[in-house]
Amino acid sequence: MSLNPLNTVADLRDYLQVAIALEHATLPPYLIAMYSLKPGHNSAAYQQIRMVAIEEMLHLVLSANILNAVGGTPDLTAPDFVPKYPTHLQNGEKDFVVNVQRFSKEAINNFLQIERPVAPPHDHGRFSRSMTRSAATSYAVPPVRQADGQELHFCTIGEFYKEICEKMELLEKEANARNETIFTGDPARQIDAGYYYSGGGEILVVTDLTSASKAIRLITEQGEGYEGGIFDYEGELSHYYRFQQIKLGRYYVCGDKPDHPTGARFTVDWDAVYPVKCNSDISDYRDHPELLAAVMDFRATYQTFLENVTKALTGQPQILQETVGEMFRLKEKFYHLMKNPIPGQCDVNAAPVFGPIR
């Protein structure tokens, strides 16, 4: 299976569903790294990862608002919505895999790959020119298959959204020429500030091209900075540089150049971490019934949570408030697992399994 080149509103909906899956796919690695930090240590690192994670959640909801606005239906329960880690990113970036692992230098380097900024325009950063050609992998969410059968991959998350934004504008322009609009969705499905809980920036209700473009701009700039800068247009540090702060042990302040933060230094205790299993899988627990039961319980809770978020994003926004309680329960279950060693393995603790069992 592969995505079509983006030419129709149906294609646009497919791409936005992929965008939602893409935003979600970053959460297991970020949350595992964050919760693997032993409470009472590494407050600075914890807060930086937490901020990125809640912004990814915001991006997920913003993408859902756009998808709803163009008459689509977000689905967080679709098969393969939750990837099996290690995985490639769902936009088709192929030169690295995303691992779900304990807080470590490797994890931060992996996060920097996920959040790498889009190359500036003069550096062949445009989607049309920089799409890479590579063999198909086993990964379920597809690259773009051209008419000639060639597969193209986006190099960054920013490029993926850029493609969505440009084609969305084009489709709306074409629709307007016919006295129509692509923004035909039910406004009652939009998530607004009343229901969107806690931080990460401002939720935007999407009803037309202007608000949709604004939402995409917020997503991409929070991730990668404004026009290659390290801050977004709200003056907030972009994700790549947030993570880089942890690597460098130093905060950026306003006016800093990329890679050279000049703010306060902070120490990172790379050892105050639960040694959780990398890319935890059900097969890791086959011989340990108690851990297996706890892992299955986590996974079931996580699936129910995704079902409820889907309900919230498809016409019952008030359910988002109930999912807040579920998120607290998930956090408890994270810690429950991550504090438990896997018997017979040297210094390896259990970790949640989010996705499909294969």
């Binding site: 009472g40 407050s43 600075a44 807060q47 937490r50 901020m51 809640i54 912004e55 607004d192 500030a193 009343g194 809980y197 806690s198 931080g199 990460g200 920036g201 709200e234 907030e236 540090l237 905060y251 306003c254 703010g263 306060a264 807040v324 607290f328």
Partner: protein, 616 residues
Amino acid sequence: MPEVKLAHAGCVDPAAAAAKFYDVVVVGAGVSGAIIAKELSEAGKRVLVLEAGPGHDMSLEGYETYLNRFYTAVSKDNNSPYAKNPYAPMPRTEDVKRLTPGKPDATGYLVQNGPYPLESTYTRVVGGTTMHWEGKALRMVPEDFKTSTLFGHGRDWPLSYRDLMSDYDKAEFELGVSAEVESQSYLGIEFEPGYVFPMHELPPSYLDKAVSRVVDGSEVLLDGKQYPLTVRTTPQARNSIPNPAYNGGQGYQPVGAVSIYPIDYGERCQGNINCVPLCPVQAKYDATKTLAKALATGRVDLLSQAVASKINYDTGTGTVTNIEVKTYDLEGQTSRTISVKGQIFVLAANAVENARLMLASKLPNTSDQIGRNLMDHPFLLNWALMPQVTGTMRGSQSTSGIEELRTGEFRKKQAAFRVSIHNDGWGWSTGAPYAQFLEAVDRQNKFGKKLRERLVDQISRQLQLAIQFELMPDPKNRVTVEDRYTDGLGNLRPVLNYELSDYALEGVAYARRFCQLIFQRLGAEDYTSYDPREPGYLEYKGQGYSIRGGNHWSGTHLMGTNPADSVVDANQRCWDHPNLYPVGGGSMPTIGTSNTTLTLAALCFRTARHLSQVLA
């Protein structure tokens, strides 16, 4: 973004502060001082804020240091997050003991002369007592402003509710109050047409609903009159869902945690049931949020570890010339005295410290009222087990209350009161949930499933009604200073004389019967008992009660229309000194039954407006 970012902490060193002449010198970095500093700095004025306690806390790390000290403290009293500091000591609950008649107790910071020991505390760090407050933000009812005329008790304010109404609006914006106009329009409380609170009410808890199902519409008899009761949500300075209709449809952005580096934290209440002393997620307002805005103007200097020690003034005109400030270094254990100068001096150090400073400075005291009329809200706790599991221990600490008895003709005879339903169950009265856990493990030998069942049975059914009484101003209740009582810097410590009037105790006796009746109607088992060994135990008309402190210090420099019987005017200007403004709870002539912070914040907005005209 909603959070408040701090580019720089705005801290100055003592020498730099001493070298400047400020438009306004503010003593105290609590809610009053922060509001005055913010309003005047935004109006272009240069402001120095002095803080007696440490000031390196306006960061997430600083806040977490407080939280961790609280988490690890054995006694989780409301000042447990704050380290003991001999140079700016603060009252602590553990210091309060039963008094021996005629014998002052000087073991804590406050010297308690009695006859009744006042259990209340305040906090001396940047942010002041909002660093431990619960966050209830009720307006006073209009009749509270003229109790002398209406009921023959207390004093009339020089202001009416209507005079203060627009400043209440401002205070509700600054503190970020969550409530609904519909549920708050009672007993004459009015709002401007179209007004809405910045955020929607915190939803009533499951426990609230269980109580309201029985209480709503039921009646009680008081002084020959039937009063129908309603359970209402309580306005609170705690982030909830913003009301899109706020400010003519502009909406409101909840204010999150103060931090030097962006952290996107503290947006909304998560129901951690740990509001006092500190909200773990900083959804509760504290004055550092306002102070951060003041510092962001670049016109505010914050000098912490600086205790105002003596006010000097021109004996001819009364004009204050400077304040002597003792600064200290906690590590080196050294101190030095500097002098700070400005055009206007604002004392925002709270009712006790303001009075202490004025008395220690031997200011002329024309009215003889400085330090007198000390008020607080006495509390009476009542606790019971509900017949069904009510999910106690979830939510913020209190989301609803009963307000109908906050005023009425009965105030001619006895104190008014309001009732808080406590989502944290018997926490305040018995130390729940820890007490029940220890009991189940140590004495009932429960473990495993039996232990869990026992805890659900004993904790999830808990209902505590906290009754908060009005206390009228009484010149005998007072703060004084005596040369023999000094702190680590040689500053004179506050000496308290405090007693409860029969007017208040008549209210207490009624309220106890009131709670017994409510428990009876709810089918709840009343577990209330008052231990004669407790510091606040007293007997009235043959019945024993334990009275707790409310931490709502007020009245020590009350406002009036006559220099002969009041300390400040309606703008909180000292009658004796044209450029001295003792502000905050101390200026309130009466406090009714509303927690004092919202009203004193409103008064500070009023005074800030007045000062910007004076300084124009």
